[in-house]
Symmetry: C2
Subunit: 427 residues, 2 copies
């Protein structure tokens, strides 16, 4: 497939973008004599639109869209134990499929072309992602509860999923998803470490999200979470550590030494009062390029809008540091694009020839983007997901003029599934 | 004019809403035998929509939409002195008119039907508001810089504006706008106090926004800002005090004693690293019903989306208090509706017969509102301004199906004016 986007703003200048297969094949000056407009199967009018890299949602549990607004404003443990876990105990693969379909739709509609997921029923998620056209890294929740039998099951299951993943479209990437150090045994973590190294797989883990996690780790292993993972050789440049809130200086240094990747989830962390990623300190420790942004799941955010997430990220660091220059707009934007692409080993995250055609067009006629003194500022501080007009992922047009194929059916069916799920009797 | 909204969700039930003149004349069960549908000049299909009170933006400087994204991520004083003030020195009434037109458009598009404004060129603002159909309380910036001559001018000007305001449509309300205690002399503040009492006018003031303000006040008057205003008898139930970040216990008690109204601007306060309103403490002091929400101006937010502001408000208090039950969704929603209506002495802020027809319809088919387990949660935590489909203010339809009359011209002209302003030579 070939796509031509005519007269679109690329960093303030009108250009033509020519997409061939799943790549940006050429970017030429619009209207200049030298640029002959190539023919293409699809032509998109880019007038009054600006192109940006498709956004990266670095950490989510996509199918939790089903639980959006189901339980909010509760103490963390009560929320988990009385609301989220009982529901998740009766969730089915079909639920996960529809929840993930809804999530993919929401992400496409807000300019996200990649997400990093960890959830139950990997088969449901992969089916939804395969159909949606979005790019994703999908891991199955690996929890053994320190039980040897369960550990064996999980290992067997992940080996099978890894084999299965080879049959999927290339835009679906398999990752290992050990849930956290308080739900996965040391033995299983070591298996993850070895399997990830052998097959060069990324590892998606929750790390130092709450103070309770740190305290429990000190009790169990006599050291803090990052220290423990370093001791067992778990940490590497393949580790995608999500949250990373409660860190000592020494732990930050260990993260740097091991080139660990970090996903910041400011909205979820604020909503659950978990604390905040020590952004300025991590930057000082040399980890800036290793940080991406995520929304977390919809039960704790409650949307998947990465444009909103960039603003929340910047605001919370300005507020906490007392320094209005903290996390300027261009950094928040890089966290959601360039940094994330590198972290997930994708040839994208910037608009350049030869990069993957994972892009979004911003509608510059939206009132919140007028005037346009500074597009990055406008996107980060004023826009929201509804300012995205067109989304292309892997060279396919997933949304044009805010229309996505099959949208109504997805919303209706997912809503039905969600209502049925919350009213379902325990098994 | 009469408007009938058919089959719209009112607190979870399908109703018909009948609007006559500028009031909600009747709310009847949809589809029930007893409710004969009255005829109306305009009929709106409310299917898959929910009605909410139009939102209140409790504090803004509307025309600053012109400076959206013009200067961000800078230290406060440098930002004001090198960017904002020099531009404001050369702003004209025509600029203010177009900036306010743009602001009104943005507010209508995000469900806001009332805003409380303080800015230069009151005439420009009132003209824009009169044309837009939105409801507003407009004050002229009153700054005398502790100069007796300027004070006299300002007093004369405000007396004239007050007289002029009587000719305006009733939905435009005149208020006094003494900028702050560090820009207005004690004598002028006393004049404001007396004039406001004599004519029963609300008074819009910035109060305790920065630590520097508090320090300066202690130097100048030997006491803290709220103590000073209490001493001169300035505080009353007519005082709309914006920001209120740096408050002692004693000051909170003085605010309560004087029934002062408070506007919280979390987005702006975070972006400028000003600190945060002590929400839980003010609630404990019995001031909950006196608190509303505002966006502040677009130079420091950078949009006027009250739906986004509700989320930011709730998140920042959950994050700072360490308590995820802090400012639950229904409180954030009340701050932007019921509380604000009372504060600005308007018979609105709730959906009831006899209330002003200042309402918004939410489009429940938006992907971020699916599923709809809890509408208030969805609006506060997941929606943004683009989920608003229809806006009615003072009984007039200002937006239907997201279309506002004259929208394109307003955006084009305001953009032109904004670019011309930032490139204009100093006078």
């Amino acid at each position: 497939m070939t796509i031509l986007i005519k007269n679109v703003l690329v960093e303030g200048r009108e250009k033509n973008i020519y997409i061939e297969g799943n790549e940006i094949a050429a970017i030429t000056d619009a209207g200049s004599g030298r640029s002959k407009v190539r023919e293409a199967e699809f032509v998109i009018d880019g007038k009054r639109k600006a192109v940006i890299p498709g956004l990266f949602n670095g950490h989510t549990h996509a199918a939790m869209t089903l639980l959006r607004g189901y339980a909010d404003d509760m103490p963390l443990h009560e929320w988990l134990s009385t609301k989220i876990w009982p529901l998740e105990a009766r969730i089915t693969e079909e639920d996960v499929y529809w929840g993930t379909k809804l999530a993919c739709l929401e992400m496409i509609k807000s300019g996200t072309t990649f997400f990093n997921d960890m959830y139950w029923y990997w088969g449901g998620s992969t089916r939804a992602v395969a159909e949606s056209g979005i790019r994703a890294m999908l891991s199955a929740v690996f929890i053994d509860g320190f039980d040897e039998e369960k550990a064996k099951e999980q290992i067997k299951r992940n080996e099978a999923l890894y084999r299965e993943s080879k049959k999927l479209p290339k835009r679906i990437i398999f990752a290992l998803g050990p849930h956290a150090i308080y739900t996965v045994s040391e033995e299983s973590l070591c298996w993850v470490r070895d399997f990830s190294e052998r097959h060069d797989l990324l590892v998606h883990i929750h790390l130092s999200e709450t103070e309770a996690e740190v305290e429990e780790c000190i009790k169990r292993y006599g050291m803090r979470p990052v220290e423990f993972l370093d001791r067992i050789g778990f940490l590497s440049s393949r580790t995608i550590a999500c949250h990373c809130i409660h860190l000592s200086r020494k732990e930050m240094e260990l993260l740097r030494k091991n080139d660990v990747k970090i996903v910041h989830n400011p909205g979820s962390n604020m909503k659950l009062s978990s604390g905040t990623l020590p952004y300025e300190e991590l930057k000082k420790a040399g980890l800036y390029a290793n940080i991406a942004l995520g929304t977390d799941g919809c039960a704790s955010n409650n949307n998947l809008d990465m444009i909103e997430e960039m603003k929340i990220a910047s605001l919370v660091h300005k507020a906490l540091s007392g320094d209005p220059t903290s996390m300027p707009a261009h950094e928040a934007f890089e966290l959601a694009t360039r940094n994330a692409a590198k972290m997930f080993r994708l040839n994208s995250g910037v608009i350049e020839e030869g990069k993957l055609a994972d892009i979004a067009l911003i509608d510059l006629t939206k009132v919140e983007l007028v005037p346009n003194h500074n597009l990055t500022s406008n996107i980060v501080y004023s826009a929201n997901g509804s300012c995205v007009d067109t989304v292309i992922c892997d060279g396919e047009i997933l949304m044009e003029g805010r229309k996505v194929n099959g949208e109504d059916e997805i919303k209706e069916k997912a809503q039905e599934v969600a209502y049925e799920l919350v009213n379902r009797k325990s098994p």
